[in-house]
């Protein structure tokens, strides 16, 4: 079974699906949605089969295929996965069908036909798979940049009121990062030409190079800046709150859940193995950025009034933890960081989805426009709570395992940074619980409040104060909160994520088994104590 080209299929199926969906005639939006859902489920199936075909104790890169692509550039269409890439493919496989289901009605509201939305979504999926599965640096770069186009159109065509601004900002930031990386990619090629006699972009050949430390530093910076913009570390982060807030919910989930992980994935896959000396010398600098990011973004998150911006800022804080785990150079911390990448995708994905469901009911993104929702919509509130608790890494949820691994792994090497990062956990509890409390508990208020036609209007429509246990019915008898609880479709979107969050919180071992050998090999390239070269 392992001869089947799973990775090519995982790129080709959604790409062809996108073309089919785009080519459907006008007015066949329902069919477009069904095709998109079907295709994304096939990709999930392929991802699971790929995982089954993957031998944990085998080679570092498995399921490899290589086809000559641009011989003049020394580039091949080479695919292959290690454990790290594999868990990201699983994450993509899980998230995309849920995003399709969650966007079922939202896509109709955009200014463009819904089938366009799903076509871009499937194309994005194909490119996301490509970016994680590429083992040729030029091919990686091509997917890395081409991935911008579908996301740009998703934000620009289906986003919120400031979508034009957000879409252009997203594109230009990423493009600048990508172009800086392009200089390094070409530089790497030139170094390989001089050392191997023939230029190549094959990852396995490139990590054998012995690059002069000064050159390493320049090349490292090119890659690092691109990745630091993608997985926003603090000075490069300002595009994310805009994009995360303005993108349609499905776009936000994939943007923060998967797309930005390309940055942290890039640190591990490219920065560390290819430029070990530079990585070591820049590590303190990166750790400072990571810790500043954890704290600063958490503080900013607390100050947000817009829920989607808030969730975006929490993600920046979490990306700080991931970067901390990667640049601590220990096996536990780096394994924790990779696990964090998956868990963050699930937890923040769920948080974005639930926030989106709330917003679709009230039509407002502001926290102050909601209150007392829990009493009327217990399922919605429950999903919100699970997502929030996972986001603040409560024990029993998946994020706890990864955050704990990162912290205990980083502590022996970098105690000061780790202690400072721990403050971020407290701040996380604050921003999550405050948002939850304000929107879900307390007196009923805000945009969801509607006049009860049976009763006359009171003189003072809004209740002043009121205890935490007061419900809408008790304090404002003449107005009722009209909230529909989760529909069956929404429940089907939320339930798998809740199950995964709890399951991986209780039993994360299968994922750790997949990730750890790849992390050991990566740190082996770095020459760090935790790793062995494979």
């Amino acid at each position: 079974m392992s001869d089947f080209p799973f990775l090519i299929a995982m790129i080709a199926v959604p790409a062809v699906g996108a073309a089919v969906v785009a080519a459907l005639p006008r007015g066949r939006d329902l069919l477009a949605k069904q095709v998109a859902l079907g295709v994304s489920l096939v990709v999930l199936l392929l991802a699971v089969l790929t995982t089954l075909a993957f031998d944990v104790d085998g080679e570092r890169f498995q399921l490899t295929t290589a086809v000559s692509w641009i011989p003049d550039f020394g580039s091949e269409f080479a695919l292959g996965v290690d454990g790290i890439a594999l868990v990201m493919l699983l994450l993509i496989g899980v998230l995309v069908p849920l995003v399709v289901a969650a966007s079922w009605h939202e896509a109709d509201a955009g200014s463009r036909p819904a089938r366009v939305f799903f076509a871009w979504l499937l194309l994005l999926e194909a490119m996301m798979v490509g970016v994680f599965a590429a083992t040729d640096v030029l091919l990686f770069y091509v997917f890395f940049e081409a991935m911008l186009v579908p996301m740009y159109f998703l934000i620009g065509s289906f986003g919120g009121p400031r979508r034009q601004y957000a879409a252009v900002k997203f594109f230009v930031y990423s493009l600048v990062g990508g172009l800086v990386m392009l200089a390094s990619v070409i530089g790497l090629y030139v170094v390989s030409t001089s050392q191997l006699g023939e230029g190549t972009f094959a990852f396995d050949a490139l990590r054998q190079l012995d690059i002069d430390p000064d050159v390493q530093k320049l090349l490292f910076l090119g890659f690092f800046i691109a990745f630091a913009i993608k997985a926003p570390l603090v000075p490069f982060h300002t595009w994310l709150p805009d994009s995360g807030a303005e993108a349609p919910i499905g776009g936000s989930v994939l943007l923060v859940g998967v797309l930005d992980k390309v940055g942290t994935f890039g640190f591990l896959r490219y920065c560390l193995p290819l430029f070990p000396d530079a990585s070591r010398s820049f590590a303190p600098f990166v750790l400072v950025l990571a810790v500043v990011g954890i704290l600063y973004a958490a503080l900013l998150a607390m100050g947000q009034s817009d829920m989607k911006r808030l969730v975006s800022y929490t993600s920046i804080s979490h990306f700080g933890f991931i970067a901390l785990g990667i640049f601590a150079f220990t096996t536990e911390a780096a394994t924790g960081a990779v696990l964090y990448m998956v868990n963050h995708g699930l937890a923040t994905g769920l948080l974005f989805l639930v926030v989106g469901m709330l917003i679709s009911r009230g039509g407002s993104r502001q926290i102050r426009d909601y209150g007392g929702v829990a009493a009327k919509a217990p399922l919605l509130a429950g999903a919100f709570l699970v997502a929030g608790l996972a986001s603040l890494a409560l024990p029993g949820t998946n994020s706890f395992v990864s955050e704990f691994l990162v912290l205990i792994g980083a502590f022996p090497e970098r105690p000061v940074f780790t202690v400072l990062a721990t403050i971020g956990i407290i701040l996380a509890a604050l921003y999550v619980l405050l948002m939850y409390q304000r929107t879900m508990h307390g007196p009923a208020r805000g945009v969801l409040l509607q006049e009860d036609p049976a009763e006359p209007l009171p003189a003072d429509p809004l209740p002043s104060g009121g205890g935490a246990t007061a419900t809408a019915a008790r304090t404002a008898p003449h107005r009722t909160l009209r909230v529909l609880d989760l529909s069956r479709r929404e429940l089907a979107v939320v339930a798998p994520l809740v199950v995964l969050i709890i399951a991986l919180g209780v039993y994360p071992q299968p994922l750790i088994d997949l990730i750890e050998p790849a992390v050991v090999a990566t740190l082996g390239d770095l020459g760090a104590p935790g790793g062995t070269d494979r």
Binding site: I70, F73, V149, S157, L182, A183, G187
Partner: protein, 513 residues
């Protein structure tokens, strides 16, 4: 008795086909009845350009040769560039021949000599008569360009420069609508072009004075020997200025926006694709063959103008509100990227600069031709709607047109999986291989800035509400449809599977001395 020079007819076949068709075209203009002129001229022009393309492909495998007493070099680069010029020329002729878009059935003025705005002129704008002289003119320009890239002798190069320029000056003034703008473009182009030609001629004289020859081979021997000094440096500088003018490289670009805007759009497309190829072909030959091994080097000069061109093109492109002017500045910026490739010549004559620059010319030619072809479709009552604001909401009104335009814009911005990225990668690699990474960093920053104005058009088309009295999108006839199909296919194909063409460019990239 004077002996006739030894000519290799087979090697000259591509140029002979094109020039022959042009001469027949002049006779057709004189003798064929008016009604049948248009189809005959279009057919003849297509036969000439496609015939030229086929002829280059037929002799592509033959050994390189220098013929006509050393005046012409028919080698790999010459044939590659000639094939490009003939091919792009054929596509441009198709754009010229489009009759479905303009209500008056042609983009060209019936009688260019009638004063703009006079009663006779107003009368003529609606007359469904068509101008057919443009086809022989275009053929002469194409022939001149093909001669230009294979000229191995500065005098022949100068003659070719004039042969290609004079028809272009005329063609620029022939727009059917906005006559004054068009005439202004023609005069401006002519005056500045004549000035640049004079520079070239003066440089030629100085180089002749320094080396005693106009043959590139002899000049190389003289420069390698180290003789020459001030006279030679000055001569080279003036020659390069003349060529950079044609290639619209900043700071010699000031004609470009006005001429691109004023000229009929099919002519603009023709100039943007073919003239660029021809001018860079000549620059490459002059610098690589005659001065490639010079001890003192032309690199600082090219370095400086490349940076100037990229910065000027990208920054001024940001401020434009007219699409044709914006694409003109984009052409200036791309000239800078091309020069980045020109830098990629190794000190030993190696390096991938030549093949990279030729490949870039190919990708840029297709993309820019396609972009201008889309421009001809979007019209309002007064001809083409080239103001940016008129394009708002085009994505909702005409999804296919907007999608095709987006493809070309993304390719111009250099996004991967389009031809633009492959071309950029090739030239940047060539430059970094020669250690010119500061230039590449500038080029990357300029790319980012330029991407912003390409994106702005996409934002307008897709993410803005349509204006109330927006333009109409014409249904293209067969010629424009063919052009759009070919250019869009090439843009995607060269982005996804460029391997074969890159190989071809690499094999062709050897100049014969």
């Amino acid at each position: 008795m004077i002996e006739a020079p030894d000519l290799s007819w087979a090697a000259l076949a591509p140029m002979l086909v094109v020039f022959g068709a042009a001469c027949v075209g002049v006779l057709v203009e004189a003798f064929a009845p008016r009604e049948s002129r248009h189809p005959v001229q279009v057919g003849l022009a297509l036969v000439g350009t496609v015939g030229g393309l086929v002829a280059t492909l037929l002799i592509a495998g033959e050994p390189d040769e220098v013929t006509a007493v050393g005046a012409l070099a028919v080698d790999g680069p010459a044939l590659f560039l000639q094939a490009m010029i003939a091919g792009f020329g054929a596509l441009s002729v198709l754009l010229f021949a489009e009759r479905a878009l303009d209500p008056a059935r042609s983009a060209f003025v019936v009688s260019a000599a009638v004063p703009a705005g006079s009663p006779r002129d107003r009368e003529l704008t609606t007359v469904p008569r068509v101008q057919t002289e443009v086809y022989p003119l275009a053929l002469f320009a194409i022939g001149g360009m093909m001669l230009f890239v294979s000229a191995n002798d500065l005098l022949v190069m100068f003659v070719a420069l004039e042969v290609l320029s004079l028809p272009l000056y005329l063609l620029s003034g022939m727009a059917r609508r906005r006559r004054l703008l068009s005439q202004e473009a023609a005069v401006k182009y002519f005056l500045l072009g004549a000035f640049a030609s004079a520079f070239f001629l003066y440089g030629l004289a100085l180089v002749y004075g320094a080396t005693g020859s106009v043959l590139l081979r002899d000049i190389r021997e003289a420069t390698t020997a180290g003789s020459g000094g001030v006279l030679l440096v000055l001569g080279l500088a003036l020659l390069v200025v003349g060529l950079l003018f044609k290639a619209s490289v900043a700071p010699f670009h000031s004609w470009t926006p006005d001429v691109y805007q004023g000229a009929p759009t099919p002519v603009t497309a023709f100039m943007a694709a073919c003239t660029k190829v021809a001018a860079f072909g000549a620059i490459l030959r002059l610098l690589y063959v005659a001065f490639g091994t010079a001890e003192w080097t032309w690199r600082p000069l090219v370095y400086a103008v490349a940076i100037a061109s990229m910065v000027v093109g990208a920054v001024l492109g940001l401020t434009q509100t007219d699409l044709k002017r914006m694409l003109a500045y984009s052409s200036v910026a791309h000239a800078g990227f091309l020069l980045t490739g020109v830098i990629g010549l190794g000190a030993d004559g190696g390096g991938s600069g030549l093949s990279a620059t030729m490949f870039y010319l190919l990708t840029y030619g297709f993309t820019t031709l396609g972009a201008f072809a889309v421009l001809t479709l979007v019209r309002d009552g007064d001809g083409e709607a080239s103001h940016l604001s008129q394009w708002a909401g085009l994505g909702a009104r005409s999804p296919v047109t907007a999608a095709v335009m987006s493809l070309f814009l993304l390719a111009l911005a250099g996004i991967p999986l389009t031809a633009g990225f492959t071309g950029k990668f090739a030239v940047f690699r060539a430059a970094i291989e020669q250690g010119a990474w500061p230039l590449v960093v500038v080029a990357l920053l300029a790319s980012a800035v330029a991407a912003f104005f390409y994106l702005r058009v996409i934002v307008l088309m897709y993410f803005s509400e349509p204006a109330a009295d927006g333009p109409t999108v014409g249904v293209p006839g067969l010629p424009t449809t063919v052009v759009l199909a070919v250019t869009a296919t090439a843009t995607v194909a060269l982005g996804i599977l460029p391997g074969a063409v890159l190989d071809l460019a690499r094999q062709a990239a050897i100049f014969v001395g």
